[in-house]
């Protein structure tokens, strides 16, 4: 199994210019993704932002709520209008006590392909194999919570005995 990259595609029934704006405009990107950025996106720029619950999906907004205000930085790589938008970031970097800046980042790349029915958007996130496994396990709360829960259950079980 490839553990280095994730690739997803989705057909968006919207004009190419509309899809591009939703990606390239930092306010629009932030609105659906669930972030607020301090400045506009530009190639090579490091953009500071923070997690803000998405305005699009109340369920996801609820899940994002506990992380509201968590700072996140992305570094814009390519902006090729209506074709490709890419940036680097540190996935799951939500622990304020950790300095992620020295860790390797993953590359997130969106490519747009016009079709008869709309725009085929593909997102690829790659570079996971460079991230220390210990950090990966830590970053994804479900695993950790899972293990904490198991350990907690064991503890209860032993104390009750």
């Amino acid at each position: 199994m490839n553990t280095d990259r994730i690739e997803k595609s989705i057909l968006l029934r919207a004009p190419l210019a509309r899809v591009w704006r939703a990606l390239a405009d930092s306010n629009e990107f932030g609105h659906w993704f669930g972030m607020r950025f301090e400045t506009s996106f530009a190639p090579g720029a490091t953009i500071r932002g923070m997690i803000v619950p998405t305005g699009v999906d109340p369920e996801v907004a609820k899940a994002q709520k506990p992380y509201e205000g968590t700072p996140l930085e992305i570094r814009i790589e390519r902006m090729e209008p209506e074709r490709e938008f890419s940036f680097r970031w540190h996935p799951g970097a939500v622990d304020p006590s950790i300095d992620y800046s020295k860790e390797p980042a993953t590359l997130v790349s969106f490519t747009l392909e016009p079709t008869a029915d709309g725009v085929l958007l593909t997102v690829v996130e790659s570079g996971f194999d460079n991230i220390p496994l210990a950090r990966r396990a830590q970053a994804f709360a479900q695993n950790e919570q899972g293990w904490t829960m198991v350990v907690g259950l064991i503890e209860k079980y032993l104390h009750a005995a």
Binding site: I10, V19, G92, L158
Partner: protein, 109 residues
């Protein structure tokens, strides 16, 4: 819901956990960090040999891992690392599914 193949793979884990001494050992390793056999046998009434045997069962289930440090054998809690990597990737993958669904809602509105 776990798939059947996951359940089958998990069976040795559950078997390894089905013993009070092993649960205690796992608990100590998971909350207290890596320990030597000497350390682990301090507050225990069972012999070092028995502890070693239990640790080996836990190791076969991928729950702990032993390594030599100087003259000592040190054991650490080790949820299967490859599985961790896969699960974390699965989770990011689900997060992208959700994010793209939000983007779809947004641009198609």
């Amino acid at each position: 819901m776990p798939r059947n193949s996951n359940l089958a793979k998990s069976a040795p884990v559950f078997a390894a956990l089905g013993d009070r001494t092993r649960l205690r050992l796992l608990l100590r390793l998971s909350s207290g960090g890596p320990r030597s056999i000497k350390d682990l046998s301090k507050q225990s009434t069972i012999t070092r040999q028995a502890i070693t045997k239990h640790l080996e069962i836990l190791a076969r289930a991928g729950l702990v891992r032993g390594a030599r440090r100087g003259r000592e054998h040190v054991w650490r809690f080790q949820p299967n690392r490859m599985d961790e990597a896969r699960r974390s990737l699965d989770q990011i993958s689900r997060q992208w599914d959700q994010a793209l669904a939000r983007l779809k809602t947004f641009v198609e509105a």
